[in-house]
């Protein structure tokens, strides 16, 4: 019965193809081209074609390039390698250090770029979809190449998975020939790239006196007495550098991999073992009761290829990972220690010493309950252990006996993820001046058992019918594919994700000069209403290899020249996250009416017993469908003088049907949200890459540069119509900060004797102002400063331009390489950085930035009226100053040295006796230097502005290959 059913499926799939006659080739079938670089295969879904025949915009980096940027997280190794991919470093915290990745900027609403959320790239490994978590924990040793698929031609077969681009990874496979064993390890230490430390007690107290006097109507009323100030100054007062107390200057990092590769005409293998050990920055010992934050990861990947009975080719790939994360038990719900960094930033130096009095009791107060040193030492530790296994099985049958070039493949993939947690926790009572201050009590270390904390499984299957043949001047490579994906998890996506994708590509080249390609996807997703689940996504593209025309074949200048263009439609069926707060659903199944609890009410005569309320969760919308993207791309691939390679791309991406909350529905509806395909956005930009290679005598060198530029505009946002067009988000780039324009500080001369503003000045509506407060521009000229005076005051947080330069030089056995990467066209809103920029607010801290505060106390010798760079200090909420305005918007531009590596390879005659074919020693510095105005002026790293800092690595290593 089942067999019968399957047979029907297969027949249906075959019938659907219709053009079984035309179909396909597969895997690195390279076209016959003269140019060496152009014969390389360009990775693509269903099949690879040579770079000559490719009509798509794809950036590729090979596995070896990835290991130059030291990091246990693959996403942090992608800087400056892949044009079109914007990489932004986030936290450096082990296990929480995913870089934000955006392919071609922001196509749609949302600026998450990570797992979940709109505008998210998709990840495919060896043809099967995985997710961002899987990407993160790859070891570079497993990877043959990583490609970024950018345009409609490259994404034609991805349907609703394609609109935001795809990261397409191909893992290393066995090579026919002698067996080799490669071993690489590197070890060294890591440091914070940057830590912005607050003021010491003396400076803090001086500014506090100013602040509290400002709050006292500018009448000097110091809080700290001269005696206290003196104690701070001479070191007898409490003055704790919490960063020094809680952190180490440097902590160790090690990783290593062992690769076995080889094969013969029947079987091939590539086996990778990998290990990484990263310690956190915390100053705490690893004992039974305490633990530094740390990550230990073990990867094993076995890729096997077999040829059987002449017609079968079997691939069996198994990739497994164990990842153990451990951290001091002071973590938020996702087990990150980011809350400790909030405390470090917020707790002033003078609040209390680490220990209360001369006792061994940790200090702590109601306002500052979590003594950072105690948080590391007295709470125990927590750990999470994840296991991932991906297994792919593919079998290919060559059907040349039917028609030459015809083949069929069947494939199946399982991907399983499990997470469990284990902790040993304790607590401590907080003391201040000998008395317990908070609700916490000292409790002994207690273990919690191994608790399951989430699992996911992902099954995918596919059938491909391919046809690949050259006939005289005609070359055809094509495939038709049926892909089924079945995802289920209880973690982030606690329900099923099902999709089916029937897709195909056909690439046709004539005389190796003219290439045309058609691709399509007919994609069905379970997120939409029955009858509304399927979408059709076609794409056409063409290429003209001008260098193969007769007039250029003998050119000394032009080695290769190709123009290409593509246009097509893709979709984004990815409603998860999306800023749509429908709890638990992640924005799926919006076609279906759901009812959920509205909370409890309580009834009773002797005691209260709860009764639950029920209400519609949202207004069901049966018309909800996938977001649509129409992409246009024009590109050129050029080789000049056999030394200079250029790739240029220009693109346009028109989005429509972006799923959004309809903010125009009045509150009269009673808290019921309506979600529809409303939004529209346009995104455009370019990418350019240049690589120049040469060798002069014994010196070989390569120089390269790349630039990616993206610029987007919201065409429709469903925003509530603002009072003036200049207030609006619509018409601006997504994420443009909209705020007031600051024009300096109020001076004493602006006020009447009674403290009111003199006539003729616009009156701020955010509370009474006083000298030293921020002054704003009254855009609508109505005499009031209010939220109708807001406008664009900067750029979005994601840079428009990403650029990189790299160089590589070798001389004798030495090699030296360096990569610099920078961005431009982004703004940082430093108001969001809490204590770092809002001095004293919420009992917070003060940083150097506050020393520029406006103040005028002539009797105390304080007068910064003319030189102020910061509004007057206050210890209270200040709705006027701490409000989004151009004052707080700073340039996010930066240039970083991403890595520098110096290597020495021993000459063959020295090492061949030990059966070594390669022995290389190297030293590497990753992220050693940053240039940025934000860092220079405010000591804030432009990428990781708060929390656990981004890291620098200094390592030394060895690479040995045996044969």
């Amino acid at each position: 019965m089942i067999k019968h059913h399957i047979l029907k499926c297969v027949l249906a799939a075959l019938a659907l193809t219709g053009f079984a006659e035309i179909a396909t080739a597969q895997n690195r079938q390279t076209a016959n081209a003269q140019d060496t670089t152009a014969t390389e295969a360009q990775p693509g879904r269903l099949f690879d074609v040579s770079k000559t025949r490719s009509t798509a915009a794809v950036s590729v980096a090979n596995g070896t390039a990835l290991s130059r940027n030291t990091s246990p997280n693959l996403t942090n190794s992608l800087f400056g390698l892949l044009p079109g991919l914007t990489v932004t470093q986030g936290s450096g915290e082990p296990g929480f250090d995913n870089a934000l990745l955006n392919i071609r900027g922001i196509g749609s609403y949302g600026f998450l770029g990570g797992a979940g959320g709109y505008n998210t790239y998709k990840v495919f490994v060896d043809g099967y979809e995985t997710n961002a978590n899987y990407l993160r924990s790859f070891s570079p040793a497993e990877i043959d190449n990583i490609a970024v698929l950018k345009d409609a031609a490259a994404l034609s077969t991805f349907g609703m998975r394609g609109a935001n681009g795809v990261i397409y990874i191909t893992t290393k496979r066995g090579v026919v020939g002698k067996s080799t064993i490669s071993f690489q390890t590197r070890t060294g230490f890591q440091q914070a790239q940057n830590i912005n430390k607050p003021l010491g007690s003396y400076d803090f107290a001086n500014l506090y006196n100013q602040a509290i006097s400002n709050d006292n109507g500018n009448v000097w009323r110091p809080f700290y007495s001269p005696a206290q100030l003196q104690a701070y100054q001479n070191g007898t007062g409490t003055n704790v550098d919490w960063y020094d107390a809680a952190l180490r200057k440097r902590t160790p990092y090690t990783d290593g991999s062992l690769t076995f590769n080889g094969g013969d005409s029947i079987s091939r293998y590539n086996i990778v073992l990998n290990y990484a050990n990263q310690q956190g920055l915390y100053n705490v010992a690893n004992t039974d009761a305490t633990s530094n934050e740390m990550l230990k990861r073990y990867n094993i990947r076995t890729n096997l290829d077999f040829k059987l009975f002449k017609i079968f080719e079997v691939k069996l790939d198994l990739g497994g990972r164990l990842e153990d994360l451990r951290a001091p038990n002071y973590t938020n719900s996702s087990r990150s220690t980011s809350i400790l960094w909030d405390d470090l930033a917020r707790y002033p130096s003078n609040i209390y010493p680490v220990f209360d009095g001369n006792t061994n009791n940790y200090s702590g107060t109601t306002i500052y309950p979590n003594n950072p040193v105690a948080s590391l030492n007295a709470l125990g530790w927590t750990s999470s252990n994840s296991r991932i296994i991906q297994g792919n099985f593919n079998v290919k049958e060559r059907l040349d006996f039917l028609t030459r070039g015809l083949y069929l493949t069947e494939g199946f993939s399982i991907n399983s993820y499990g997470l469990s947690t284990y902790s040993k926790t304790a607590n401590y009572a907080r003391y201040f001046n000998g008395a317990v201050t908070t609700t916490n009590q000292t409790s002994p270390l207690r273990a919690t058992g191994q608790n399951a904390a989430g699992q996911e499984d992902w099954k995918q299957g596919m059938v491909t019918l391919g046809y690949d043949r050259s006939l005289g001047d005609h070359q055809i490579t094509s495939a038709l594919n049926y892909h089924v994906s079945n995802y289920r998890g209880d973690g982030q996506y606690s329900f099923a994700y099902h999709y089916k994708n029937i897709s195909g590509r056909a690439n046709y080249a004539y005389k190796n000069r003219y290439v045309g390609e058609f691709g399509f996807s007919y994609f069905g997703s379970d997120a939409y209403a029955p009858g509304n689940r399927w979408g059709f996504y076609p794409a056409v593209s063409a290429g003209w290899i001008i260098s193969n025309e007769s007039f250029l074949t003998n050119s000394k200048i032009v080695g290769f020249l190709k123009l290409r263009g593509s246009v097509g439609k893709t979709g984004s069926g990815d409603t998860e996250g999306a800023g749509i707060p429908v709890s638990g659903l992640n924005g799926r199944f919006l076609y279906q009416q759901y009812y959920a609890g509205s909370g409890n009410y309580y009834l009773g005569d002797g005691s209260a017993s709860s009764v639950g309320g029920l209400r519609p969760l949202f207004v069901a919308n049966p018309n909800v469908f996938a977001e649509q993207s129409v992409k246009y791309n024009i590109g050129a691939d050029i080789n000049l003088f056999k030394r200079l390679d250029l790739t240029l791309d220009v693109y346009l991406d028109k989005r429509s049907n972006i799923l959004s909350i309809d903010n125009t529905v009045p509150a009269l509806y009673g808290n019921n949200i309506v979600i529809s395909n409303l939004g529209k956005q346009t995104n455009k930009g370019f990418e350019a890459t240049a690589v120049y290679r040469n060798r002069v005598g014994k010196v070989g060198y390569a120089l390269s540069g790349l630039a990616s530029y993206n610029s987007n505009r919201i065409d429709y946002f469903a925003e509530v119509g603002p009072a003036y067009s200049y207030n609006a988000q619509t018409g601006r780039s997504y994420g443009t900060p909209i705020g007031l324009i600051s024009t300096g500080f109020y001076q004493i001369s602006d006020f009447n004797a009674d403290g009111t503003l003199k006539a003729g000045q616009a009156v701020p509506q955010f509370g009474r102002v006083q000298p030293g407060d921020l002054k704003y521009q009254d855009l609508d000229g109505n005499g009031q400063i209010n939220n109708n005076d807001v406008t664009a005051i900067g750029k979005p947080g994601l840079p428009k331009l990403t650029y990189a330069f790299s160089g590589r030089i070798d001389y004798h056995n030495f090699d030296l390489s360096a990569l610099l990467q920078g961005t431009s066209g982004s703004s940082v809103n430093i108001l969001n950085l809490g204590s770092q920029t809002q001095a004293f607010v919420n009992n917070g801290n003060a940083y150097a930035i506050a020393q520029g505060a406006w103040a005028y106390y002539p009797d105390q010798g304080i007068d910064t009226r003319a030189t102020a760079t910061y509004p007057r200090l206050t210890t209270t909420t200040n709705d006027n100053n701490y409000r989004l305005s151009s004052f707080w918007i700073k340039s996010g531009n930066f240039l970083k040295i991403r890595n520098v590596e110096l290597g020495y390879s021993f000459a063959n005659q020295w090492i061949s006796k030990a059966r070594l074919t390669k022995l290389r020693l190297f030293v590497n510095a990753t992220n050693p230097v940053t240039w940025s105005s934000l860092k220079k002026n405010y000591n804030i790293d432009p990428e990781t502005q708060s929390g656990y800092p981004g890291l620098k690595f200094y390592t030394a290593g060895v690479l040995a290959t045996f044969q």
């Binding site: 099954k459 379970d526 005569d605």
Partner: protein
């Protein structure tokens, strides 16, 4: 060929056995039905209760009665002259304190309140539709083989659901009152709006809203349980609206409607209607009288919600919590954060019941002071509060009270926050004491302090005296004889008796006193300790207040709501 085919079948069998055979017809029908769906709802008679409860849940916020967290996580009192926020004044409270409330500066809590009221209204409207055929629904979804016990349950279901339908009208009326006391006129929605409906309903005037509320109460008051407390079988449902609470709502609504803000021409018939409505509660045979177990006790724990409590008309119950204690215990008490500090303006208004004591200004005062406010040198949280320099609660310390006082009313003493101790909190929506004061005020305006037409058993003075006698027999006699003087006495009495019960701000608005009172600074005391261990109190300005008249007599609709209404909703004047 044959081998190949076999192989293929093998592979596909594998796929299929693992649930991957994409040709399975319902593969794309995966759903996430953790939430109730129309199908599950249609067969679940319990939804007649749960959809009914949804119209009550806006009265609760994070498992606490709404009023405990009405503004920036605390009582609304800090918006009025009753109290001052300690520590950083949150921006929501600031908007009231500084008079900067505007359509584009609507505090989040205020905005949420608007949305929540309409959510309650939507739930009530939805319920009226949903439960139309409830009897048939109840009968259909019932195991009939349960014998007589099933029948009793069925009868009870019918009864309780029938009342829910009446309560939906009253709940809706209640929410419209809460909206109109803030916004004046608001759009009246009496049906469940779906996405395709034209939502642009124009605003009804304040009087129209009042008339709507009153007509709903008059029409449906008899389709309600009369008094849950005295019902032998359904006592456990107390907390829902009843005929008694509907009439209490009517008394409050008509009192507001008769007040100067809404009755500029001082139409006496409005006061007469208000007096009559209050009388209907007093003489309605609901068994109401003032609680004699102590003024402080009444506001603590479950006291007010006990069915034996004769004063409570309707109370919102909640499970044990320590949120109000955490928020309002002095910062020096472990776990406390000072919260809203009662103003000296309020404290100074408590009358003396004996000779003033120069060494202790809090001595010989109306006992309601000690039940409402924590003063210096009194015992609170198991210790003596010492606010002078060097004392445990030294006012120079960060986040201590700005006024020298801490809140006591509604706050349970000695909750051990260090061990996460909790207490029950009950919010009194309507109580007899308020009705007596409503009555006295309306009677005074309609008939003078001592007038009472036929059918009215109490004069204004007598009603007032009942409240004062309960507080203390030592309170000085009320001698005011003119309507105006007596009015001021009543205003004073409301301020004292109903302190922190979320009346003050709204009373100041409806009396049109806000522009005077809420432009005065908030007073506090600074405390110095004398050598003989007595204390000196110096009255100081603790904070300034700005009330922008006349605009702030009504809340502004948020700019967003104005825009979304496509011009149907007109902004209140002055914004």
């Amino acid at each position: 060929m044959k081998t190949k085919f076999k192989n293929q079948v093998m592979v596909l069998s594998l796929l299929s056995s693992l649930g991957l055979a994409g040709c399975k017809k319902d593969f794309l029908d995966s759903k996430y039905d953790v939430y109730a769906t129309p199908t599950s709802v249609a067969t679940d008679a319990n939804t007649l209760y749960t959809f009914g409860n949804a119209m009550y849940t806006p009265l609760i916020n994070n498992a606490l009665p709404y009023a405990f967290t009405a503004l920036d996580g605390n009582f609304f009192a800090a918006a009025s002259d009753e109290a001052q926020r300690s520590g950083n004044v949150p921006v929501g409270t600031l908007a009231f304190n500084q008079g900067t409330l505007s359509p584009i500066n609507v505090p989040t809590d205020v905005n949420n309140y608007y949305t929540n009221m309409y959510e309650g209204i939507r739930a009530a409207n939805f319920y009226l539709d949903y439960s139309k055929n409830f009897e048939e629904f109840l009968a259909r979804n019932r195991f009939r083989d349960q014998g007589t016990s099933a029948d009793i349950a069925y009868q009870r279901d019918r009864r309780l659901i029938g009342w829910y339908r009446g309560e939906a009208r009253i709940a809706r009326a209640y929410y419209y009152f809460e909206l109109s006391k803030r916004y004046g006129g608001v759009p009246i929605i009496t049906q469940t709006l779906d996405k395709t409906a034209n939502p642009n309903v124009s605003k009804s005037s304040f009087d129209e809203v009042t008339n709507f509320i009153v007509s709903q109460i008059d029409t449906f008051k008899d389709s309600l349980q009369v008094n849950w407390k005295t019902s032998s079988s359904d006592k456990d449902q107390d907390g829902r609206f009843s005929k008694m609470s509907a009439l209490a709502l009517k008394s409050r609504v008509l009192l507001y409607a008769a007040s100067p803000l809404h009755n500029p021409g001082n139409d006496v018939t409005k006061w007469q209607k208000a007096a009559e409505a209050a009388r209907d509660v007093i003489t309605g045979n609901f068994g109401l009288s003032l609680y004699t177990g102590g003024y402080r006790n009444y506001f603590i724990g479950f006291t007010a919600a006990q069915s034996g409590n004769p004063e409570t008309i309707m109370a919102v119950r909640s499970p044990a919590s320590n949120v109000p204690e955490q928020a309002n215990y002095p910062i020096a008490t472990p776990g406390g954060s000072s919260g809203i500090a009662p103003s000296h303006n309020l404290v100074a208004d408590y009358e003396y019941i004996g000779a003033p004591d120069a060494t202790d200004i809090y001595k010989n005062r109306d006992p309601r002071l000690a039940a409402t406010v924590v003063t210096n040198n009194s015992t609170w949280n198991g210790r003596t509060i010492v606010e002078s320099a060097g004392g445990s609660d030294d006012m120079a310390k960060a986040n201590t009270s700005r006024t020298g006082y801490y809140l006591k009313k509604f706050i349970t003493d000695n909750v051990n926050l260090t061990q996460n101790g909790t207490a029950i909190h009950t919010w009194i929506l309507f109580r007899y004491g308020e009705i007596l004061l409503n009555y006295a005020e309306a009677m005074n305006e309609a008939y003078g302090p001592d007038g009472a037409p036929a059918g009215y058993t109490l004069t204004a003075r007598q009603a007032l005296q009942l409240v004062r006698n309960r507080a203390s027999s030592l309170l000085p006699a009320v001698t005011a004889s003119s309507v105006t003087d007596f009015r001021n006495v009543l205003k004073h009495e409301r301020r004292i008796e109903l302190a922190f019960e979320d009346h003050r701000y709204w009373d100041l608005l409806r009396w049109k006193d806000a522009e005077t009172v809420l432009n005065q600074p908030i007073k506090g005391v600074t405390v110095t300790r004398n050598a003989n261990n007595t204390y000196n109190y110096q009255v100081v300005d603790a904070a300034s207040r700005t009330f922008r008249a006349p605009a702030m007599y009504y809340f502004p609709f948020s700019q967003a709501e104005i825009v979304r209404s496509n011009g149907t909703l007109t902004q209140n004047p002055g914004y």
